[in-house]
């Protein structure tokens, strides 16, 4: 076992899948010699050559549309969109085709492709480099949407995404690319898509988060316990769509209190669906409203004000305490 950053872990996943399976092709802008602007594809060009690690012209719709054709032929393209803020350029290719070709051809064809893109704030980047818009993808039937939260699950989920028979949008929390290291086993590991995880057990309150927000959520859980004696259960959604509501529903039946945390804008965000599911499936257990700690409904400001936009530990802690105080009993 080696201690790895998320970038290294993702790189390992790509490397091992490419070694095992010559259907796996990496393509995108600057993924070749440059190894990707975040170095996730580092060394792959040297190991696998330009026929399997393909630098493309600067055209996102082109990258995704070509990936669809490759996947229909039977390859397993893993394309990189340099930043999620630019994947709206290929939105029509995913909605109109990647998500529908299996269905349109009634099972004759399928589109086993992965679209990787770094998402989210926290790296003092330029405009369009800090967005969090996973709902755009989560609302499209026929595709899957995955967001890891650490090196180990990032590697294991990317492996599953590559092997998945359906298109997977794989958003990587760029704030965590090098934020911390984890033990990542050399032996291949795959984590099933469509399953959330309980990361911390608790009894008073259920925190629901994913991606980069798992860290403030975890820190908040600690602070809630240490400073306020509140025991928070923390759930990592991991797959945004299809959304696994079993664990957070179960948890809220136990705690009676729920808070969903995301950097995406609040309105029509992922938290809305989590809240709606809780109301549908755990209504009579809820002792207080489902709280949303989320990005504001504005474009994420340039980095000098970014921290005031992103959900912070203190915002979560305060929200949790208010939540418990508004509860019926």
């Amino acid at each position: 076992m080696a201690k790895m950053t998320m970038v290294q872990a993702l790189n390992l996943a790509l490397k091992q899948e490419m070694e095992k399976d010559d259907r796996v092709i990496v393509l995108g802008e600057d993924v070749g010699l440059d190894g990707g602007v975040f170095r996730v594809t580092e060394g792959l060009f040297q190991q696998f050559g330009e026929t399997r690690v393909v630098d493309t012209p600067l055209a996102e719709s082109g990258i995704v549309g070509m990936s669809i054709g490759m996947a229909v032929y039977g390859l397993r393209p893993v394309c990189e969109i340099q930043f999620s803020g630019f994947d709206y350029h290929n939105f029509h290719q995913i909605e109109n085709h990647a998500a529908r070709l299996r269905w349109r051809s009634q099972g004759r064809f399928s589109v086993p492709m992965v679209l990787r893109a770094p998402y989210g704030g926290g790296v003092r980047a330029l405009e369009h480099h800090s967005e969090s818009r996973e709902v755009f993808w989560a609302h499209i039937p026929g595709i899957k949407m995955v967001i890891p939260s650490g090196p180990r699950n990032a590697r294991a989920l990317l492996v599953s995404a590559i092997r998945d028979p359906d298109p997977v949008i794989f958003y990587e929390p760029k704030a965590l690319y090098r934020a911390f290291r984890e033990e990542v086993p050399e032996a291949q590991e795959a984590l099933p898509i469509g399953r959330s995880q309980v990361v911390r057990e608790g009894k008073d309150l259920t925190l629901i988060a994913y991606g980069a927000m798992m860290r403030p959520a975890l820190a908040a859980a600690d602070e809630l316990m240490e400073k306020h004696g509140i025991s928070a259960e923390l759930i990592d959604i991991l797959t945004i769509s299809p959304l696994d509501d079993t664990l957070f529903v179960q948890s809220v039946k136990k705690t009676g209190h729920a808070m969903i945390i995301h950097e995406a804008p609040r309105s029509f965000g992922p938290g809305a669906e989590v809240s709606a599911r809780l109301v549908e499936k755990a209504f009579f257990y809820l002792e207080a409203p489902v709280a949303r700690v989320a990005g504001f409904d504005i474009p994420i400001p340039y980095f000098s004000r970014e921290n005031a936009y992103l959900p912070s530990v203190s915002r979560i802690v305060r929200g949790a305490r208010e939540l418990l105080s508004t509860s019926l009993n």
Binding site: A59, M66, V72, H92, N96, W103, R104, D166, G194
Partner: protein, 368 residues
């Protein structure tokens, strides 16, 4: 070199083989074997007659909206007929004659026109993509297929179809540019039928020809008389051979005309004159090919009649077959099939809810 014109390596040509009276330019004769010539003729007649039948079905409310192809038979069949079964065809939505040539059943077309998802199923043995309605978007899929063929060291080629309007789309640009960069075995066939619904070719782009757009991608372009099936065949053959031999992609512009409405929901009289339609009717690709084949002694009134008869009974059989099939189809629960490889839990729940609903009295009639 202070100020000089730039030499552009790639060529853009115009090609025609049969004149408007079906007279051949011997120097350019693609020498197609008689049986293939007659097969092409039959394919054109079938395309033309199927349109007529679908039109009457549509007027009787027995099918929904569909896009006729009348006038574009030569531009479609001249192109696809040079493909091998193992090659790939990537259609837009107006290549009915070409799709049939490539093995799509008439029944499936009738099913699709009747709003049955089963109608766009693609048989396991056919290397065709289903129709792509978002204009221009399919060009990129064709490039991806061709890239994969190259990667697998196969010598198949991919032929993509699209219209004159599609050339304005970003995906057309990105697709041809990728094809140029990767030198994929691609043949891009533009069916320039002069109209994108109500927008004439002249308002679609200011470039004199669509073929010259190839120069932007470092590939050869050729403009052919799209109502001259021999010219289309010749240009397609050259392009396919080049692609197969590793010579890279080609853009072919077939200059043709949509003689009928855009779809049955469209009224062309709102935007074009009868004179224009009349003018192009005189260039009817089917009439021209008939003249040529008659000249050549391959066709005579009896043969014309028997071909028509055979085609009509094929169509009748298909209509009967489709209407029989449709009686068996349309069960609402099937709508959950093929969305994912495996039905995810939330869809299983939703399907279950629909099952319960359908089991309730009087629900089925509630759902047309």
């Amino acid at each position: 070199m202070p100020r000089n014109p730039i030499e552009i390596p790639d060529r853009v040509e115009y090609l025609s083989v049969l004149d408007e009276n079906g007279r051949l330019d011997p120097a350019l004769d693609p020498v197609i074997p008689p049986d293939l010539l007659l097969k092409l003729y039959r394919g054109m007649v079938l395309g033309r007659q199927f349109d007529q039948r679908l039109l009457s079905l549509q007027r009787q409310g027995r099918i929904g909206t569909f896009p006729p192809i009348t006038g574009q038979e030569a531009a479609q069949l001249g192109a696809v007929s040079v493909l091998r079964p193992s090659d790939w065809m990537v259609p837009s939505f107006r290549e009915t004659a070409a799709e049939i040539w490539r093995g799509r059943s008439l029944e499936s077309i009738i099913l699709a026109d009747n709003g049955f998802n089963e109608g766009t199923r693609v048989d396991a043995d056919l290397n065709n993509l289903p129709v792509a309605i978002p204009v221009g978007s399919q060009v990129l899929h064709a490039v991806g297929l061709a890239w994969a063929i190259q990667y697998r060291h196969k010598d198949d080629v991919v032929m993509a179809f699209f219209g004159d309007g599609a050339t304005s789309q970003g995906d057309f640009h990105e697709g041809l540019n990728f094809a140029g960069v990767y030198q994929t075995p691609s043949v891009f066939v533009c069916q320039n039928n002069q109209w994108a619904i109500s927008v004439p070719r002249s308002r679609q782009t200011r470039s004199k020809t669509l073929a010259q757009k190839a120069l932007a991608y470092g590939m050869p372009g050729i403009q052919v008389d799209g109502n001259d099936i021999l010219a289309v065949y010749l240009a397609a053959k050259e392009a396919v051979n080049r692609a197969r031999a590793g010579g890279g992609p080609t853009l072919i512009e077939c200059v043709t005309y949509r003689l009928l409405m855009h779809t049955t929901a469209d009224d062309p009289r709102r935007y074009r004159t009868d004179d224009e339609v009349a003018l192009w009717s005189h260039r009817d690709p089917l009439v021209r090919f008939e003249k040529y084949l008659t000249e050549k002694g391959l066709l005579n009134p009896e043969k014309v009649a028997s071909t028509l008869e055979a085609v009509l009974s094929q169509i009748q059989a298909a209509v009967d077959g489709a209407e029989a099939q449709m009686k068996q189809l349309g069960y609402p629960l099937d709508m959950f099939d093929h969305v994912y490889a495996e039905l995810p839990p939330h869809l299983a729940d939703q399907k279950e809810a629909l099952v319960r609903e359908l089991s309730l009295p009087g629900e089925d009639n509630n759902h047309g």
